[in-house]
């Protein structure tokens, strides 16, 4: 791929992001022009829609980055952030917190964060045994967390059941992590990713070849697992489980930009952000004043796109 084409793609990505950002800001139960808003409109725009939009952007970007990292870590371009069961353990943690802790605004987020880390620690035991065993361990652990979640939901009092379900479907409006912090995490994660990008490229050749080129593979794998898991845990804590963004976006960016990570990672961080921003805007306007859980929408968009990509890959 030429430098010229990369620049062109970047210009398009930035222009599209800016356009979509303004569009998403304007859309809602009522249309507000972001360039000429005053009074109550300005309040709705800057205090309700903007933080929500930025949360969606950061969470989407984080999920796409984590997806790209997990794909390299597991040597499988079809892996996603939740593949090792982190979503399941986070959900189980959130529901457990809802059940046993006093009901405050941040209780589910705190439970999710602890749950996500519990899941990560379980998987980390398998980090040294290579991608295949780690993937297998992750899949089995995911099944275990899903069973635990089922058990907890069965025991949950009826009045809190709805809250648990809406959290599990993904919701960017109820984030307890402040928006500037989330954006800073997004930037930090992207920076870490870019610093590691050459090592990630070399890791695509397989562990032995990477080692023969001077990469400390064990250390790189641990760094990558830690980074990807932390980012997933934060994304889950902020917005619950939102599927497909982490799977589809990095894959799509690889098709568009090739497989070198200094191109794929920034594009995924932006693309994931835009996708979730759009999905959330559609989710809150489609049946306004009611809202659809955004996780359902990403699945509706993500599944056909993914299946299309899969067909294309095979041909």
């Amino acid at each position: 791929m030429t430098q010229h084409r990369a620049l062109l793609v970047w210009a398009i990505v930035l222009a599209v992001s800016a356009g979509f950002f303004l569009l998403c800001l304007a859309m809602g139960e009522q249309w507000i022009n972001p360039l000429h808003a005053s009074g109550q409109d300005a309040m709705i725009l800057w205090e309700l829609r903007l933080p929500r939009l930025l949360t969606a952007f950061a969470v989407g970007g984080l999920l796409a980055l984590a997806g790209a990292w997990f794909q390299v870590l597991l040597g499988n371009p079809l892996a996603e952030p939740y593949v090792l069961g982190v979503a399941g353990s986070a959900s189980a943690g959130a529901v457990a917190a809802l059940m046993w802790l006093p009901d405050t605004t941040w209780v589910m987020s705190a439970g999710a964060f602890v749950g996500a880390w519990l899941g990560i620690v379980c998987v980390m035991f398998f980090a040294r045994s290579g991608p295949d065993k780690m993937l297998l361990a992750g899949v089995v652990l995911a099944a275990f967390w899903s069973a635990m979640l089922g058990l907890l939901l069965a025991l949950l009092p009826e009045q809190t059941l709805f809250r648990a379900f809406s959290w599990m479907m993904g919701d960017v409006s109820g984030s307890d992590i402040p928006v500037p912090l989330l954006l800073a995490i997004w930037g930090g994660a992207l920076l870490c990713g870019c610093l590691l990008s050459r090592s990630l490229d070399i890791l695509l050749l397989g562990e032995r070849h990477a080692e023969a080129l001077g990469i400390d593979v064990q250390r790189l794998r641990q760094q990558l697992l830690f980074l990807a898991s932390t980012v997933t845990a934060l994304a889950v804590t902020a917005a619950g489980t939102i599927g497909f963004v982490g799977l589809v976006v990095p894959h799509f960016m690889r098709l568009l930009l090739g497989s070198l990570h200094h191109r794929v990672l920034p594009a995924a961080a932006m693309g994931g952000g835009i996708l979730l921003m759009l999905a959330d805007t559609i989710a809150r306007t489609m049946i306004a004043p009611a809202e659809l859980p955004v996780g359902i929408l990403t699945a509706i968009i993500g599944v056909p796109v993914f299946l299309f990509l899969l067909l294309r890959r095979r041909s």
Binding site: Q71, V72, G75, N76, P77, R198, D201, I202, L204, L205, G206, R208, H209, E211, A212, L213, G214, I215, D216, R254, L255, G258, S259, L260
Partner: protein
Amino acid sequence: MMLLMKLRHVSVQRGRKTLFSGVNFTVTAGHITVILGGNGAGKSSLLLAMAGLIPAIGDIELMGRPLRHYSPRERTRLIAWQGELPPTAFGLTVEQRLHLVSNCPQTIHHVACEMAISHLLLHALDQLSSGELQRVELAALMLRDAPVWLLDEPTSHLDFKHQIRLIHTLKHYATRGKAIVVILHDLQQARALADFLILIDRQGETRYGACEELFNRQMLCQTFDAPLVEQAVALLPDYGICPKTGET
């Protein structure tokens, strides 16, 4: 004759099994050492141990310093290892793969011509045939500026034309001062290339010596635990050397 590597009493284990023990040999600049042995004898493991990629018992010295005292980066500058690339599904292109080893477009172009892969530079690695992929990996090795080259069955998957070209290329690089250690299965190729031989037999016994000394029927029959005939077969690729009667 510059001494680059020295192995003393080296043994390698796979699980609980000792593959071979007490290997002693030296690797010198400008010479080609060929490793011969049956399947599972430990040829690849010996090469990996020399590259510092698997642990070994005994002393492996690289330029007078124990190999384990080198950092992975330092080691990479001195030793280039080539082995079969595992399948990768990320769409990495040949050009991108070569750029992971060298940043110099001219050198990449030159080596790509040498390995006849110039027309494949924009192809994804997972779209190549095994032979093409092997040539890409050999090109990646040749891009390395390391004084020691370790090659694990470099002629496998290659057609006759490219086998012959590779034999000549390796000879050429050896005359320019590279120390080359190579695993082969073909005795003709081994005879054409080797200055020194390492024979590993089924019992894990190893022999090291000059090619003229070890390349005889008795030694090779013992190494491979198989009968060998002395008659030359009519049609054989010409690796640029005429086998002398009584040596095969």
